[in-house]
Subunit: 282 residues, 2 copies
Amino acid sequence: MKVIRDPLKLTRLIQGLKRKGKSIGFVPTMGALHPGHLSLINQAKKDNDCAVVSIFVNPAQFGPQEDLSRYPRPLKNDLLLCRKQSVNVVFLPDSKIMYPEGFSTFVNVEGLSGLLCAAARPGHFRGVATVVAKLLNIVSPDVLYLGQKDAQQSVIIARMVKDLNFAVKLKVLPTVRQKDGLALSSRNAYLNKIQRLEAQVLFKALGLARTLIDCGQSDAARIIAKMKELISRKKQAKIDYVAIVDPERLQPLKKINRDCLVCLAVKFGKTRLIDNLRITCG
Amino acid sequence: MKVIRDPLKLTRLIQGLKRKGKSIGFVPTMGALHPGHLSLINQAKKDNDCAVVSIFVNPAQFGPQEDLSRYPRPLKNDLLLCRKQSVNVVFLPDSKIMYPEGFSTFVNVEGLSGLLCAAARPGHFRGVATVVAKLLNIVSPDVLYLGQKDAQQSVIIARMVKDLNFAVKLKVLPTVRQKDGLALSSRNAYLNKIQRLEAQVLFKALGLARTLIDCGQSDAARIIAKMKELISRKKQAKIDYVAIVDPERLQPLKKINRDCLVCLAVKFGKTRLIDNLRITCG
């Protein structure tokens, strides 16, 4: 397993592999790898000759009041996990090489970047789109792997890939969950015991939405109200949003008569968790 | 010479060429080709195995009051010129395929995109950066050729290429001029006889700046005042700006004691012309 810190060196390595006809699968991460990441890496290994994983806690996607400095960085363990998964290349740049002095170019998926999570995290998706554009140019993968857990992120990256003609195929893999349904996230580590128990409610609320829709409820406002009611029973839960939206445009739906994305963001103490469920109708 | 309208088809063709180890030189144009473009094409042919020229009048870089609809589109002649120059591939997309419904991703080189020409053309450089990002992803050239005439554009693209890690080398070639010094531009075709004569003054004003600097004048404001005085003698000339700036950051210089870019934009009737001179000091 190669660990490469210099973007140019990685680009040259990849160009060499491509000239030999090798296919490249790419999993961008912020490290603190969990089985959700590992499922992406596993798929990248299966589908391609070469799996590249980036580990980079991207400052451009954190707000000034957010958890950039305390975001977990268990690098040794991350590299161990990558080695175990037979990752071929880990890209491990630092902020100075990714955002050198004078850096001033940003990619913005207008429209989609102002919805859902954007209200609580202004500039977040501009930072995500920008770093993914950079990474795609450095790695030029054949396939890019993302997790369904960050649904809005996946939709925004899909739009960016299409709009800017990146020659990459996007694969979004299902959310990996703990036994009680909690979606795996590096931020789960912030939760104390009570918060961790209470956080079960997120998946239950999504399940409730599915049940209601399965039973014929098509009024989004009613479903959302029931979900909010359920979540609010947990003492530490502070709802940021619960929404039912179009899966591509992320616009709120009033009537559920077609495929939709049920999504939510809830804070437990200082820890903001997100989750979602794609529901297929008709 | 291949003429390709479909981005995906072009990307596949290029990928095939790259696998064979061929190098790609790329000249993006809006058509209405003149010897300025031809010098870029010529260099792209010399440097690379394969020269790709795009012809696309990019609506995203025109303001609502600008000349998008009347911009010259002499396609037959353009293709003839490309054939004469032994261009390998002409990329000829239409607006629908470049900006399909739902398009919403833009690349913005913040800071640099707000200066000089941006005041008169809000959104212009966002449109330029976005289309060039798209074209670089479609063509993935080894070398990108731009003309020094559009100095701000070149500086912005250079910044974008660096910031977003595009694996391309940028070559900026000297402005090609008519005998009287007027920089070649597709927009020169808009000028009537009197305007065309008066437009000589632009290169003369740049020459005046060079002479003053050569003679030891280092006060930018004084040089600019003399240039404006000279230009203002022409009846139809309306000065948009005359500026002396840092060649990379495009910030105005007060004292000329290092390399600088003297640049100007002047309207003759409805036709806005730009020109510039890079001056090396010390």
